[in-house]
Symmetry: C2
Subunit: 223 residues, 2 copies
DNA sequence: TGCCCTCCTCTAACGGTGTTAGAGACGCTA
DNA sequence: TAGCGTCTCTAACACCGTTAGAGGAGGGCA
């Protein structure tokens, strides 16, 4: 046998990330992962303590480049800067299959600290108290992950469900007039209203508008 | 043997809800569920097509009383009304173990339609366009589920993790000054800052403030 | 009475899962 | 040469969701 180079934990995590993209979270088994690596399943336990912690590493890897530090440029609006950051985070989540599900329930790891510190600093610099800044980061993060989760869940559903079925039961317009009006409105669009990017942007806009209001109040109070 | 009354699908769903509260989503297996019902595992397949759809029913059951219709009373502020509704939803989610995880990825079922219709109608009545109202409901929902997910994940983590460990590595105040300031600030509180209810309220306040801004803009445009 | 039929439950089994125990091969160092 | 840490292996355990197919209980009907 040609002497194969020994496996690294990074190799395992890499392969897991790729396998996740290929078969989704349900299909990601240690045996399959081991097979892809040309190794037997229990071998993985030498590199990784647990499947759960393997997924922790995968989550960290998935957000790796999102943690790049991109400081506020002088003269740039902090709110626009924050919106851009949150959007990048959202796009990173929905770009990789089941990324949101893997990420949900993982504490921010050590590697995320510089990025969080940066946002914290920017918001404090914009006039927020540290507590406000912290709560706001959390809120934006929760919105991002909730939106990504919802989007990916719907995508999975669409892939599973029989597509020949129409747009649902076409509910009674008398009982649900607003639903009907909405459906009529969305029927014109080519994507049947499933523009999740715009949907996310709407939510993010609301939250950032709220932040602007809060900041105005704080600044007024302070000065 | 005393003739046992035949099982209903509602019985199965009920037992699943209770078992979920007891052992969490990981521990909820069909065999265990069958044992609790005094029945063999394959029997469940006569009442339920699938574990996945069983969880759908569980999700529906978990939100059942949250779908009660509570119309806007005359003179009541629509924003306060909406905040109240979202808060009830959040509380319902965090009150039951793993409810958020079960709910994530379930399309709103038929039973949720009256409630959604009601919120849709209230927002349209407040001056929003149907599209705005729809996107806003979605946004608030995503925030609620993201927050609940985060809270329950952290709770699970705390239950699992060795509690003797301190509050983490106490990071370098030079590299992470804002983190340090925040930690110092939160150290005074009895709960070490883990007041998730207040954290959720903060996010919800931001979003509702954003909605107020948007409504003001719409009304200005319209009138 | 005898028969059928539908409801509901059973046992047996299949192929999969995460995980542990323990043996063994490779290469470096003394 | 002996020893030791590193890395991988086979065998096995207890569990999982799910299917196949048999069978009992009870009501409706000839």
């Amino acid at each position: 046998m040609a002497a194969r180079k020994a496996l690294t934990r990074d190799d395992v995590v890499d392969a897991a990330v790729h396998l996740l993209a290929e078969v989704g979270l349900e299909g990601l088994s240690l045996r399959r992962l081991a097979r892809d690596l040309g190794v037997s399943a229990p071998t993985l336990y030498w590199h990784v303590t647990d499947k759960r912690t393997l997924l922790d590493h995968v989550a960290e890897r998935l957000l790796l480049d999102q943690w790049r530090v991109t400081p506020l440029t002088p003269g740039e609006d902090w709110a626009e800067w924050l919106r851009e950051r949150a959007t990048v985070q959202y796009r990173a989540l929905i770009a990789h299959r089941d990324a949101a599900r893997v990420l949900a329930g993982n504490r921010p790891t050590e590697a995320a600290m510089p990025a969080v510190e940066e946002v914290l600093g920017t918001l404090v610099g914009a006039g927020f108290t540290p507590a406000q800044a912290f709560a706001s980061i959390q809120a934006v993060g929760n919105l991002v992950i909730g939106s990504a989760l919802e989007y990916q869940a719907e995508r999975e559903r669409d892939a599973t469900t029989d597509r020949t079925a129409g747009d649902g039961p076409a509910h009674d317009p008398d009982r649900f007039p607003h639903h009907s009006a909405l459906a009529a409105l969305l029927a014109d669009r080519p994507d049947h209203g499933a523009d999740h990017d715009a949907l996310f942007r709407h939510g993010l806009d609301l939250m950032i508008a709220g932040l602007r209001v809060q900041q105005a109040g704080t600044v007024t109070h302070a000065g």
